[in-house]
Symmetry: C2
Subunit: 463 residues, 2 copies
C-alpha cells in the first residue's frame, strides 16, 4: 500500500480533500462506541495526529476496536474536511490493515508521566508529544547549522574523537584503551605500558575540536566542526552530560568583531529556521513547557546583540546595587547570576562580554595590548546566561610560546599547533556552541537529559 | 580591509572585471623578476588560485619579493580579464599587506611529495592541491547527505557514542573508562570493579547506531544517523580506520525494496551534488588520481542499479568460468574478488545482492520464508565492491527471540530492542554507508588515511 505522509495532508490539505488516501502510523488514542470508533493516528512525519473514523462496516471492526495504544496500522479511506471540528480534516476508513499489535501494558499511556520516568523508557519516549517535538526540533536545528555554514562556503571538518593529547585543558577526559584491564602490560618500572595499547600510546576522548579546526581554518579560511565531545566530570546537574555535541566554527583573516558577527548571524538563522519549520512544535513548547519561550526567541531574532567589555560589565554589576551571592570584583569569573543579571536586567537582550582577564581564560586566546586581558567573547542570553564562548586566537608565535610556559604546558605536545604560527599564520578566531544547550534554549526544556536521545551522565549509560 | 572570496571572483567574474577588489590568502607560488612579480594566491574558499601581479611601484616591493611560500597576505588591486592567458583574470596589486611570514623550511614545497610523507604533516597537507580537493569534497558530500535526508523529511538522530553494550556484534570495541589503570578498584573476588567506573559499569565506543536508530524509526518513521563509529581491529590496511563516520538510515513501514530504492536515490543524489558543486576538484581527481573516475561516477548516476539474489549470484559466478582465489559455493561470504566480478564484469553497473544465507549475516536481519536466507542487501559498485550493507529487520518478536538464542545473545541486554517488537512493531529496514568509503569512491583516493583529516589507525593517533 503506497502511503502518503500525514505532514503532506496537513501542509497540502486542499489537494487531498475528498480523495482516497492511504496512511500508515501508530495509534496514539482510540475511542470506540458500539458501531464506530475514532483513532488518533501518528505517523512520525508530523507533530499532529490524523483522526481516523471507522465503522462496523469494516470486516475487521471488532479486531480494530480491541487495539491498544501504539498498535501500528495501514489505513485507506477518504479525506474529509471537517471545518466545524477541532481537527481540520479526518479520514473515513474504508480499509484498515493491522500491522503490529501493542499491549495493555504499553508503558506510555495517555496520562502524564514524569520526565524522570520517561528517561527510563528512552526507547519509547520519542513517541510522546513532548519528545516527538524535542527530537524533531533537534534534527531541524542540526540541519539549520549545516545549512547556515554551507551557504557561507564554510568547510565542515571532522576533527578526531580519539586524541593522543591529554592536555586540551577544557576538562577531565575519558581514557580509550584496548589493554586488558585485569592485567595490563607493564614497563620495567611497573607502570602500565601504553606502548602496548592500540594506538601505541595513551589516548582519550576529545573535549574539543578547536585546535584541529584551527589547522583547517588556516587552509580553507572558514571551517566548522559539528561532532561529539566528552567530559568526564563528576557533575550530576541538569546542565551537564558526559557526551554532548558541539559546533566549533573557526575563521581566518578574522578578528573578534568578525567572530561576534558570525555568532549573532548564526543564532538568528537557527532560531528563524526552527520557528519557520516547526511552528506546531514551538507552539506546543510555548503552551506546555515555557510560556515565555516564543517571546524570548523573537526578542533574540529582533535585537541587535549588545557589546560590553568585561571591565565595563564589572562596573555595571557593582553599580547595580544588587546583592549577589558571589561578590563582584575585577578578576573574578562571571557566575550565572551575574551573566543573567547583565543580559536580563541591564541589557534586556543578548550581549557579548569581551576582553576577559587573561588569568581566567585559556592559553590560546589572543593577548590584548593592555597585557592584562585577552580577546575572549562570551555570548550571554536571557534565561540562560552563557551560551557561546569564543575568542580571537593568539597568532604571534613568541606571545603564544610565552603563554604556554606561563600555563605550564609542554610545547612538544603542541608542535603542530605552534607551526601554524610559523608558516603564514593569520589573525583568526572562533567559538564553541554546545548543541544541547542550544536545544534546551530553543525548546524550554530544562534538563539536558531530555534533549539527548540516550543521555550519558555520571552513573548512567543505558540503552 | 573588507575582502571578497576568490570563489566569487571565479563564479561571478564579469561583475568584478575592471573593479578594485581586496582578497586575503596564502602564497602557493611566487616568481619575481627585477621589477615585478607574480603570486599564486589561494584563499581556501576555492580550489583554484588567483594570480596577483605586483610591481616595484609598491613601497614594500622588496619585502614582498622575499616572501616564502605559505606567507599570508592582504591584496588590493584591479581585477583585469586576461582572455589570452592560462588563467581567466588576474589582480594588478595596488597595495599588499603582509599578514604572516612563512619560512624557507616550510615543509610543503612546490615539488611532489609522497602521500606517506604528507600524512606526517597532516596539519599542513590541507594546503596542498590534492588535500584541498579531498576535504572540500568530503565537506560537500556530508552536506549532500544531510540535504538529501532533510528534503525527504527524515529526522537526524544522534545515537550514543559511549555504549554500555559490548555486544553489538559488528566488531571489536574500545573500552572507555575513568578508572585508575595503574591500580583499579577490585571486587572481592579480585576482578576489576566496573561499578566504580564513571558510568557504574563497563562501557565501550559504539560500532553502530543501528539498534538505537530503530528506536527512532519506530517513532518518526524515517530517520538517519551520521556520526563517528569505532573498530578496535588490528587491521593495518588501506581500507580500515579505527575511527570513521557512518550514515545509517532506518525506515519504518518499509521493506527491502524500499530500502534499495532509498540507497540508490541517495547514492545518485550525493554523486550529482558533488559533481555539480565541485567541478574543479572532480576534474583534478580525474586528471591526477584516477582517470576513470568521472566515467565511473557518471555510470552510476545514469544506471538503473541491478538486483540479484545471492543464490543467483553464486550461480552466475560459477557459470562464469573465472578462476577465483576463493572457490565459489553456496553458503560462503562473498569476497571482494567475487563482488567486483559481479558488478564490473557481469552487470557492468551497481548491483544489489539480496537474500544472503542466514548463517553469514547478523541476528537482526529478517528471516525469509525459505527459512534459509535473510532479507539482507549489499550494494556492490564497480571499482570497489561492497559500499553499502543493509537489511530488512526482523520485526516478529518470536522469530527474533529464537534467532538471538541461536546466536548465543543474552536477551536481557536487548530488552528495549525486543520491546520495539511488542508495542506496535512494523516492517522496517535500513542500511549503513561508511562515509570514508564513499569519499574514497568519489575522489579515487585509495588509502582511507588520506580522506580523514587526522586518521586513527593501529599504532597512530597523531595530532
Amino acid at each position: 500500500m503506497k502511503t502518503v505522509y500525514v505532514k503532506s495532508l496537513y501542509r497540502d490539505t486542499d489537494s487531498y480533500a475528498g480523495k482516497t488516501v492511504s496512511v500508515a502510523g501508530w495509534i496514539r488514542n482510540i475511542r470506540v462506541s458500539k458501531s464506530f470508533g475514532f483513532i488518533e493516528l501518528n505517523d512520525g512525519s508530523f507533530f499532529k495526529n490524523v483522526q481516523i473514523v471507522f465503522g462496523e462496516e469494516l470486516e475487521n471492526f471488532k479486531d480494530i476496536a480491541k487495539l491498544n495504544i501504539s498498535s501500528s496500522l495501514y489505513v485507506e479511506g477518504q479525506l474529509v474536511l471537517t471545518p466545524e471540528a477541532k481537527q481540520p480534516f479526518e479520514i473515513k476508513a474504508e480499509k484498515i490493515v493491522i500491522e503490529g499489535l501493542s499491549s495493555p501494558e504499553y508503558p506510555l499511556q495517555k496520562k502524564r508521566h514524569s520526565m524522570e520516568y520517561l528517561r527510563t523508557i528512552a526507547h519509547l519516549r520519542p513517541r510522546s508529544n513532548t519528545f516527538s517535538a524535542v527530537f524533531r526540533v533537534r534534527s531541524l536545528a542540526a540541519y539549520a547549522i549545516h545549512k547556515f555554514f554551507n551557504e557561507r562556503g564554510f568547510v565542515y571538518v571532522h576533527t578526531p574523537i580519539i586524541t593522543g593529547s591529554d592536555a586540551e585543558g577544557a576538562g577531565q577526559m575519558f581514557r580509550v584503551t584496548t589493554l586488558d584491564m585485569e592485567n595490563p602490560p607493564r614497563t620495567e618500572d611497573g607502570k602500565v605500558d601504553y606502548r602496548e595499547d592500540f594506538f601505541g600510546k595513551s589516548t582519550n576522548l576529545t573535549v574539543s575540536g578547536q585546535l584541529e579546526a584551527e589547522v583547517y581554518a588556516l587552509a580553507f579560511r572558514n571551517v566548522y566542526t559539528f561532532g561529539p565531545t566528552f567530559r568526564a566530570e563528576n557533575s550530576n546537574t541538569p546542565r551537564h552530560a558526559a557526551e554532548f555535541w558541539m559546533i566549533e566554527p573557526e575563521i581566518a583573516f578574522a578578528d573578534l568583531e568578525d567572530n561576534m558577527k558570525l555568532a549573532e548571524d548564526m543564532m538568528k538563522y537557527v532560531i528563524n529556521y526552527v520557528l519557520e519549520n516547526a511552528p506546531e512544535e514551538m507552539a506546543f513548547f510555548n503552551q506546555f513547557i515555557d510560556n515565555t519561550l516564543l517571546d524570548r526567541l523573537q526578542n533574540i531574532v529582533d535585537s541587535e546583540f549588545g557589546r560590553v567589555t568585561y571591565t565595563e560589565a564589572i562596573e555595571l554589576l557593582k553599580k547595580s546595587g544588587k546583592e549577589f551571592e558571589y561578590p563582584v570584583e575585577w578578576g573574578m569569573d562571571l557566575q550565572t547570576e551575574h551573566e543573567r543579571y547583565l543580559t536580563e536586567e541591564i541589557f534586556k537582550k543578548p550581549v557579548f562580554v569581551i576582553n576577559y582577564p587573561k588569568e581566567i581564560k585559556a592559553f590560546y586566546m589572543r593577548l590584548n595590548d593592555d597585557n592584562k586581558t585577552v580577546a575572549a567573547m562570551d555570548l550571554l542570553v536571557p534565561g540562560v546566561g552563557e551560551i557561546i564562548g569564543g575568542s580571537q586566537r593568539e597568532e604571534r608565535y613568541d606571545v603564544l610560546e610565552k603563554k604556554m610556559e606561563e600555563f605550564g604546558l609542554d610545547k612538544e605536545d603542541y608542535w603542530w599547533y605552534m607551526e601554524l604560527r610559523k608558516y603564514g599564520g593569520t589573525k583568526h578566531a572562533g567559538y564553541g556552541l554546545g548543541f544541547e544547550r542550544l536545544i534546551m534554549y530553543l525548546t524550554g526544556i530544562s534538563n539536558i537529559r531530555d534533549v539527548i536521545p540516550f543521555p550519558r551522565t555520571v552513573g548512567t549509560a543505558e540503552f
